[in-house]
Amino acid sequence: MRVSELLESRRAQWRELEELCVKMEGGSRRKVEAKTAIRFSSLYRSACADLALATAYQLPPETTDYLHRLVGRAHNQLYRSRSFQAATWGRQLLVDVPRRLFGDNYLRLAFGVFWGVFLLSMIMAYRVPGFAEQVVPREMILQMEEMYSEPIEGSGPGLGGGMVGFYVMHNAGIGLRCFAFGIFFGVGGLYAVLYNAATLGSVFGYMATTPQSDNFFHFVTAHGPFELTAVVLAAAAGMRMGFSLVDTRGLPRIASLRQAAQQAVPIIAVAVILFGMAAVIETFLSPSAAPYWIKAVVSVVSAGLLTFYFVVLGYPRGA
């Protein structure tokens, strides 16, 4: 038996497989007939068998290389990405995530750091004159004072509703970046939490001392709970990833990171959803002329919803 003859005898099928690959890569895969698909898979398996025996039978290296690529190419058409399993989303978001977060030490840490620093800098900014200027740039304070100098009398949703896009883009962007930087051993996430807590706390404390304080709290009350929780969640998801590199629970570091990242994805998804809800409130309710008690009710209801989500849905149950 000659090697050259063997090659010739197999070549027709290899070429057929190649043609089928081109056809399937062309995007018309949904229309591939059952017959073609069956033919494809059997051609693929025989190409696999040829490759397995190629070295044993001393095929020229070029041919082996060709077979490696052919098999790889066909493999990627046969085993395709499963994209998103949307059916599991509801379960993930309403059952798995709250239960995971209920006993989540990273969330506790992020929550504690955020509110601790927030309250501390708020008190400092309120009691100590000049504290806020040291934490927040002077221009930002002047800008805030100017922004809230007019009472909120309901000029309608900001930019006729356009602000909802801005808030989603800006705030969810910060949240996602905060999550991504968490991979640097959690330091990124921790830094983002500290920075946001100190800045927001100082602004809150400072604004309370100014004549504009009424306008300011009138504006921030309604969307506060969703937005602040979202920041904390995003940071906690990032810390979960970053700290998994340090505390590996007995796994190799990279495997530990992979596991933590997989768990963190639905958490960051929840954070983005919260940012979206906060953006809607911030655009349509916060700047409106609605009396303060309505905004306070919205705030209390959203805080209640969050509590329900984290505590009632999250409370550990026997499996």
Binding site: R2, L43, D50, P60, E62, N76, Y79, G160, G161
Partner: protein, 288 residues
């Protein structure tokens, strides 16, 4: 093969069919152009859709919603473009498709939606500082599969998936080669590594000049010339070509033919995996 993978950028994948095949991992010089192409596409899509959406909503008298939609589209293009494409296009974005690369899991399986989104969201960390991608570049240089941080966390890698033309046995037409091949003792059988070296040499010898051929062929040719008791003036380049001819093209010995009948390629035709053997000309109707 495992020895070559140590210095190579190849990764070995074991398929569910229990076959090991190799992929080439994509390095920065393929991934950067792919990224830039995607960036250009994103920028263009952003400009076109934002203008279109703004005009559409303004004509409806709702400019505010037009602005909101535009900003949300920018957000989606920034954070979800790569993730959605990779999830729906089997691990490829338009840029990756043009550069013939694909994202797979480190086990060689296709990625799922979560992995696609995760590796693209973590791009924000890989881009640091600013847009210079230093973190991602460093991480790729330090890992054997060129993984940036997003790849490490999602358990993915980027491989080259380039079609390659079939190249079989090379037919040597030179009369001198055929004559020399006849002088090789019929019992001679090249070892596996020798056969590989011969094939590599014959593949490339058309690109070498005559003195260079003599120099390269000398390493293997001289011992073979001694072994075959050929006259010292035998051309070593042609001798190697003749041994190649003998190994890959000429009929093997009688007893080996018996072995061959029960070996690699013969049983495939009758194995359960093998497709019904169809002549090549009959393959055409299947295509249509």
């Amino acid at each position: 093969m495992s020895d070559s993978s140590a210095l190579d950028t190849a990764v070995e994948i074991i398929t569910p069919e229990n076959i090991a095949f190799r992929y080439r991992v994509a390095g920065p010089f393929r991934r950067l152009p792919a990224y830039l192409i995607d960036f250009g596409i994103r920028l263009t899509a952003w400009m076109i859709t934002s203008v279109a959406v703004m005009i559409a909503f303004s004509s409806l008298g709702l400019p505010g919603f037009g602005l909101a939609a535009t900003l949300i589209i920018i957000f989606a293009l920034t954070w979800l473009y790569g993730g959605l494409f990779e999830a729906l296009w089997n691990g490829q974005t338009p840029g990756k498709r043009l550069m013939n690369i694909r994202v797979l899991t480190v086990e060689g399986r296709p990625i799922n939606g979560w992995q696609a989104v995760l590796r693209n969201v973590l791009r924000a960390a890989d881009m640091m500082p600013l847009m210079f991608y230093l973190v991602g570049f460093l991480s790729a240089m330090l890992t054997p599969r060129f993984q940036r941080l997003g790849d490490l966390a999602a358990g993915t890698m980027v491989v080259v998936e380039e079609p390659k033309w079939f190249q079989g046995v090379i037919r040597l037409r030179e009369a001198e080669v055929v004559r020399l091949a006849g002088q090789i003792p019929p019992g001679f059988q090249a070892s596996r590594t020798t056969a590989r070296a011969l094939a590599a040499y014959v593949q490339r010898r058309p690109q070498f000049s005559a003195p260079r051929r003599a120099e390269i062929a000398g390493h293997l040719g001289r011992p073979l010339r001694r072994q075959f008791n050929l006259p010292p003036e035998t051309n070593l380049d042609l001798l190697l070509a003749a041994v190649y001819h003998h190994t890959f093209v000429t009929d093997r010995r009688e007893e080996e033919r018996v072995v061959a009948a029960g070996s690699p390629f013969a049983p495939i035709a009758t194995s359960p995996f093998a497709p019904p053997s169809e002549p090549a000309d009959q393959a055409a109707p299947v295509e249509s």
